[in-house]
């Protein structure tokens, strides 16, 4: 039985390490400015460009892939969380950004509620594994009791990062 626990922990530690590598002060913002869905996604992509995670030349291609995925089905899930994501060969490896908009905005969420926490993830088209793992892990963490409130209450970027 101990092995089950060890495995879980090991898996979790592995993911935790990845999350902290992905979410750094440069890729997390406290106050998103955009007022609509497309604007929010573009703002998050620009954060990745500024942080040097994706090249300026790849901006349009990344934006297109995320919007295409968004057209199939909204990534605004429930309880104010949205995870826009896409796959594109314009990125060499999985990149992610996190943004908060406290007043919330309409992201066509499944429950019709305004979305407040946005996590963008983009990974190479041919690669399986990290992409889904990241989506699963981030939504698992965000479904933990009190986690969303802690992110919304955070006063600094570092405070948010310390939660992961």
């Amino acid at each position: 039985m101990t092995r089950r626990a060890d495995y879980g922990q090991y898996h979790f530690m592995l993911m935790k390490m990845n999350l902290q590598k992905l979410l750094t002060p440069e890729t997390v913002v406290l106050d998103l400015e955009a007022t609509d869905k497309e604007g929010i996604i573009a703002e998050l992509v620009d954060i990745l460009v500024r942080a040097g995670r994706i090249s300026a030349a790849a901006r349009e291609e990344v934006l297109r892939s995320v919007m295409e995925r968004e057209r199939k089905m909204s990534t605004g899930i429930e309880h104010g969380v949205a995870i826009p994501h896409g796959k594109s060969d314009a990125v060499p490896e999985l990149v992610a950004a996190l943004g908060v908009k406290r007043e919330g905005l309409d992201f066509d969420a499944l429950d019709g509620q305004p979305s407040r926490i946005f996590i963008l993830a983009v990974s190479p088209a041919d690669r399986s594994g990290p992409h889904i793992q990241f989506l699963a892990e981030i939504s698992r963490l965000l479904s933990e009791p009190g986690m969303q409130q802690k992110i919304l209450d955070a006063r600094s970027v570092e405070e948010i990062i310390s939660l992961f």
């Binding site: 039985m1 092995r3 089950r4 495995y7 879980g8 898996h11 995925r69 199939k72 089905m73 399986s128 594994g129 889904i132 793992q133 989506l135 699963a136 892990e137 939504s139 698992r140 479904s143």
Partner: protein, 571 residues
């Protein structure tokens, strides 16, 4: 008239085959007379002929039993062995060659080579049963399983040994015959029960899971008992009766071997499979794992235990890794060829003359062994959380004895610790218990719950998502797409051989099931890992959009059909 060339060909081939066989046997005698170098060739020829007869005979026996007598095929294989074995048809001399199954001079009536192949089969069998064990379930039901397994072991060991003493086959409980008959009586083969319950969809019931958990413990304890008994018999043969202190040492050594190798196995299995997976060939991985099982089998024999113990430990260690199902699949081929050989060879070991003398004893022994399991396993079950109906189900589920009982008896026979009579009794027990258990099991599982009103089995929280699709065809198509999506995410996906299409999906500690019933697809997942399963299925569903787009771009079926047919009448 049209098939006459075919008939000619068959007729010609048959004649040629018969002629070749006659020439072969006629020349065989001369070759053998030529001198020593022909010895190995003679042994190998004999082995090939024996295996040929066994392969065909065992399969036909199993088929006849299954098809016409509606009994377990295993019995047919055993009986086929008895019929073609050295004590029956196989003992009849063929002119120019001699008997196909000559009686060997040693404690075993068959050749060492043939027995070696049967042993190899038993190693694979135990490796597979270790692999198939659900360690997590076992742990969850370990308390009641422990009580049920231990109860069954104690009752049947004492019952079996007491029978031997009472009927004069042994003069004391420490006599090899008493020890072996006790051990033979303990060895439950849960495979038959598991198969019946899974067909009836009751394997996941509290009774089913308790039986499985108890069976693991029964195997472990039974194997420890076997190790101690083998050690005691060896000690006795090298001089005098073993002292209780020696027995204690043997017990401790057996348990130590078990604990140490089990701990090392479980600790290293995950790492080992991660390294092996880099080979990217399931064939190679399976071969290496089987090699390791054989290695451990050899080590356990060197440590004075039985070979099957090592194989079982290796299987159990790998059972919780994500390659367990793939390994089972890979090994199933060799298993399905060798296991009938095993049962057939076991049937061959039965000396009718010796069994005839203990026939009455055999019946009484089998009756005692069956009742000992029903009472020994049912009583703790009833005391802990089941009502009388549930306790009876658990007890009956633990009744079947097949391969382990025969392996134990075979070990006794090969070491000379027991004679043909005791071996015959073991075969009788395995036949009677496998014939009696299935119908009774079906009957006792007919009505309502077997769990006491207030008791509810604790289970890990499981979430289910049902996806409704427009038709069964669409569901079937998406079902296999989803399985592929899990494969792409490096999950090990295993299609279960059940009436309702089901995939079992595993990766490290995660385990999901995907079930298709008509136009519904159900995804079951533990709450802890629901996110990853949900995302994989969701993304796959969305990717169908791309597929639909490309279908729209496809030419109309009319024009595709026209292209397909155009030029069909061109000359």
């Amino acid at each position: 008239m049209t098939n006459s060339p075919g008939r000619w060909r068959v007729g010609f081939l048959t004649t040629a085959f018969l002629a070749a066989t006659v020439c072969f046997f006629a020349s065989a005698g001369t070759v053998q007379a030529a001198g020593e170098p022909a010895h190995t060739s003679r042994i190998m020829t004999e082995l090939a002929l024996q295996l040929a007869l066994i392969m065909i005979g065992a399969r036909l026996g199993g088929f006849v039993f299954n098809r016409f007598l509606r009994g377990p095929g295993v019995l047919g294989e055993l009986i086929a062995g008895m019929i073609i074995g050295p004590y029956a048809l196989g003992g009849i001399a063929i002119p120019g060659w001699g008997p196909v199954f000559p009686l060997s001079g040693g404690p075993l009536p068959v050749s060492t080579e043939l027995y070696g192949i049967a042993m190899l089969a038993s190693i694979i069998l135990l490796f597979l049963s270790g692999l198939e064990t659900d360690l997590a379930t076992f742990m969850r039901y370990s308390l009641v399983g422990l009580a049920v397994g231990a109860g069954g072991i104690v009752f049947s060991f004492i019952g079996g040994a007491a029978c031997a003493v009472y009927f004069g086959l042994a003069d004391s409980f420490l006599h090899p015959a008493a020890l072996f008959l006790g051990t033979i009586a303990t060895a439950t083969s849960v495979g038959l029960t598991a198969r019946i319950l899974s067909e009836k969809r009751r394997l996941g019931s509290p009774e089913g899971v308790t039986i499985l958990a108890a069976a693991v413990l029964d195997d472990v304890l039974g194997i420890v008992v076997l190790a101690v008994v083998v050690g005691m018999v060896r000690a006795e043969r090298s001089g005098g009766t073993p002292a209780w202190s020696q027995i204690a040492v043997l017990g401790v050594r057996a348990i130590l071997f078990w604990v140490v190798f089990m701990a090392v196995g479980i600790l290293l299995a995950g790492r080992l499979t991660r390294v092996l997976k880099r080979l990217h060939s399931m064939n190679t991985i399976a071969a290496i794992c089987l090699g390791l099982a054989l290695l451990l089998a050899g080590l356990s024999e060197m440590a004075g235990l039985a070979m099957i113990i090592g194989a079982y430990i290796m299987g159990l260690s790998l059972s919780r890794t994500d390659i367990a199902y793939e390994l089972q699949d890979q090994l199933r081929g060799i298993y399905s060829f060798l296991i009938p050989v095993f049962f057939c060879v076991m049937g061959m070991l039965v000396d009718f003359h010796a069994v005839g003398k203990v026939l009455a004893f055999g019946f009484i022994f089998a009756l005692v062994a069956v009742l000992a399991k029903v009472i020994g396993c049912g009583l703790p079950a009833w005391l802990m959380k089941f009502n009388l109906r549930g306790a009876l189900r658990v007890g009956v589920g633990m009744v079947p004895r097949a391969e382990v009982c025969l392996i134990v008896a075979g070990i006794g026979l090969s070491t000379g610790a027991v004679g043909q009579d005791v071996f015959g009794v073991a075969v009788m027990l395995s036949m009677i218990s496998t014939m009696v258990a299935p119908p009774v099991l079906l009957r006792v599982f007919e009505n309502g719950s077997g769990v006491r009103g207030s008791e509810r089995m604790k289970k890990e929280e499981v979430r289910s998502v049902v996806i409704e699709l427009p038709s069964a065809e669409v569901a079937e198509f998406l079902f296999s797409r989803m399985a592929q999506a899990f494969r792409n995410e490096e999950f090990f996906v295993h299609r279960l051989h059940t009436d309702i299409p089901t995939y079992q999906i595993r990766k490290e500690d995660m385990a999901f099931t995907l079930i298709q019933e008509g136009s519904h697809i159900t995804l079951n997942m533990p709450a802890r890992y629901q996110h990853i399963a949900r995302f994989i299925v969701l993304e796959e569903l969305l990717s169908i959009q791309d597929l639909l787009d490309s279908v729209r771009r496809m030419k109309s079926p009319d024009s595709l059909g026209a292209e397909l047919l155009s030029g069909v009448f061109d000359r």
